[in-house]
């Protein structure tokens, strides 16, 4: 009888637990920090940035919160914007990486602090990485090809886009990239195809030159390139739903090659998620796009001043060096502001430029275009 009674009450208890109200208020000196990045970034902040910052700033601490994904953090940003209008506490001070253009009108409404005017370290920032004065580029990363050296010797690895396409077609089922909106590794693979279709000239795409007609003209040839390789992809044209899932398929030896974030691949190899035999290569004709992660400080946060201190702190040599060493990322500051030994050690493997692709309306156009023009065009059962 006990068992049955449990069975009936368990449902009620489970439902009740979900509904328990949770109330919280911003605490003094505790920076409410949110990230939408992958776990490796949260680990980096938990183990490196937060302890160093708290040691350097007695009385201040960071409340690290994983917003899950971009949508989770957008919801926090929407809430903060609403709080700005009602002059209440947004319970958020700092976003590890965010686009100050979002939510719509937030930057104009004064939701984000002008960091150029507020940070003493702003002058160290790599000017190529700056998009606006409201977000501080503090770490960069680049997409590379990660491959299984036991199946593909390093000497035979494709080094140009044309070679890569030839290789994919010659080895059907051995390559997969993720949906462009679900993670930057697939997203920048798609953007590399767009660059390829437009004379490998990243300067053709800027934040301001977006028009639907121009996008149609420049993106359509890229969809042709991607449709051309689709039948040769894993499972006759499957696309994973995130960076991590692609890494998992490479780790399970289900595919031979994937596009991957440099930091995620390096960390995957060091933690054993990817085997030691994983090779990394960058295309030489034009590198895959990379991107900078830009932190923002909320102007209406209860700990705004502490959060500005934090934004300044991530630009210090100590943290910037840790980004290179611990995270496998690129610094957000110019290379002159990185420890000299690191500068010398990495000068040969870190490219002098990281092609970037603008966000804004381009992101939406690429996502919609890809889903409508590339994703459905394959009969998976054939």
């Amino acid at each position: 009888m006990k068992r049955r009674a449990f069975l009936i009450s368990a449902g009620g208890v489970a439902a009740g637990m979900v509904l328990l109200p949770r109330m919280s208020f911003a605490a003094e000196g505790k920076i409410d920090w949110y990230t939408s990045s992958d776990t490796n970034i949260l680990d980096f902040w938990t183990n490196v940035v937060a302890p160093k910052f708290e040691a350097a700033n007695p009385g201040l601490s960071i409340n690290l919160i994983d917003a899950g994904d971009g949508a989770g953090q957008d919801a926090i940003a929407d809430r903060a914007l609403a709080a700005l209008q009602t002059k209440t506490d947004p319970q958020a001070d700092y976003f590890e990486t965010a686009d100050p253009m979002s939510p719509k009108g937030a930057m104009e409404a004064g939701l984000y602090v002008n960091l150029k005017d507020s940070l003493s370290n702003w002058s160290k920032v790599n000017p190529l990485a700056v998009e606006t004065d409201f977000a501080v580029p503090y770490r960069g990363s680049q997409v590379l090809l990660a491959y299984d050296t036991t199946k593909l010797p390093a000497a035979d690895v494709p080094k140009t886009w044309a070679d890569l396409v030839t290789w994919i077609k010659a080895n059907p089922g051995q390559f997969i990239y993720n949906r462009p909106d679900k993670g930057g590794s697939g997203g920048n693979f798609v953007r590399r195809a767009i660059h390829e279709a437009n004379g490998r000239d990243p300067s053709l795409f800027t934040l301001d030159n977006f028009t639907p007609e121009y996008a149609e003209k420049t993106l359509a040839p890229a969809w042709e390139i991607l449709n051309d390789i689709a039948p040769s992809l894993f499972d006759n044209g499957a696309y994973t739903s995130g960076n991590t899932q692609s890494v998992q398929l490479l780790g399970q030896s289900a595919v031979t090659m994937i596009p991957a974030w440099s930091d995620q691949a390096l960390q995957g190899i060091s933690t054993g998620v990817l085997p030691e035999t994983t090779g990394l290569v960058q295309l030489t004709d034009l590198a895959f796009s990379g991107g900078f992660s830009r932190g923002v400080v909320l102007a209406n946060g209860a700990n705004k001043d502490a959060a500005i201190k934090l934004a300044d702190f991530v630009l210090t040599e100590e943290i910037q060096s840790a980004i290179i060493v611990e995270l496998g990322g690129f610094p957000g500051v110019s290379w002159d502001n990185v420890a000299e030994d690191l500068r010398n050690k990495y000068k040969d493997i870190v490219p002098s430029t990281i092609p970037t692709f603008p966000g804004g309306d381009w992101g939406a156009a690429i996502s919609d275009g890809w889903y409508r023009s590339v994703a459905p065009n394959v009969d998976r059962n054939s």
């Binding site: 049955r4 069975l7 009936i8 949508a71 499972d235 499957a238 998992q248 398929l249 939406a364 889903y371």
Partner: protein, 288 residues
Amino acid sequence: MTARPVSGVQSSRGLTGLLLVAVPVLLFAWMTIWPILSGLARALTPEQADGSRPVSFANFVTFFSDPYSLANLGITLWTCLVTLGLLLAICIPLALYLRFAQGRLATYVQTMAMFPMFVPSIILAFAFIRVLGPNGTVDLLLNAVGLPKIRSPYLTPWGPVIGLVWDNIPLTVLILVSGLGAVSNQAVEAARDVGAKPLALFWHIILPRMWTSVAVVVSFTMLGLFASFTLPYVLGPASPEMMGPFMQRTFRDLRNPEMALTQATVTMLFCIAFGLFYVRAVARNRES
């Protein structure tokens, strides 16, 4: 006959009751009804280039004339119906077993059946890739005995179906078992005494008393399946997508809240149908 002194007490009790029920009702109105109405209003008043918002069905016309959106709606319905069918096929026998079985084995079975309730779906999704994905555990086991690999359901429409069935087993079993509480042991024993075979027993004694809980299961799980997000997102194909991921992508990546609300409204209309089904089933149960 004396006057009825209890009437004062009764009305104050009625007031207390109303106050008690007011909290959930207000919460429901605020957190559910209001967002629905405001969403509906926005979907029905598309913003024009000049910023005005006349009432029009333009968003819905766009949705229903777009083959891509319709394909997504279609895969959502397909996934829900297939998942529901599999769930009932698995959970009715399981619930019957748990209702009538005694002993230690039943305890283990019950623990197993309840286990998915305590596994977050994102963990389930990645475990699925490990086990049923390409070169996963199943492939390794098959390979060990010299059998060919399976055609992995990962990134096909069957991926979310398998994940959702597993994820929904506990709730379905709980509802069905509680429904089976209405079947008295005496009724079953009496039927057995007059020589009823198991199938006749099930058909004439148990099933008539189970209908309500089956109806509750159908409506509850359909609502849950329509709203499912994580499993279709991680395990499903890139296209067609289920409505959950599709809405989220329209809202966030395409930055088109109006169209996302239109998709949500269409989804809600289907859910309302199952909601009404649930209300009717419960109301009929009350009457009987």
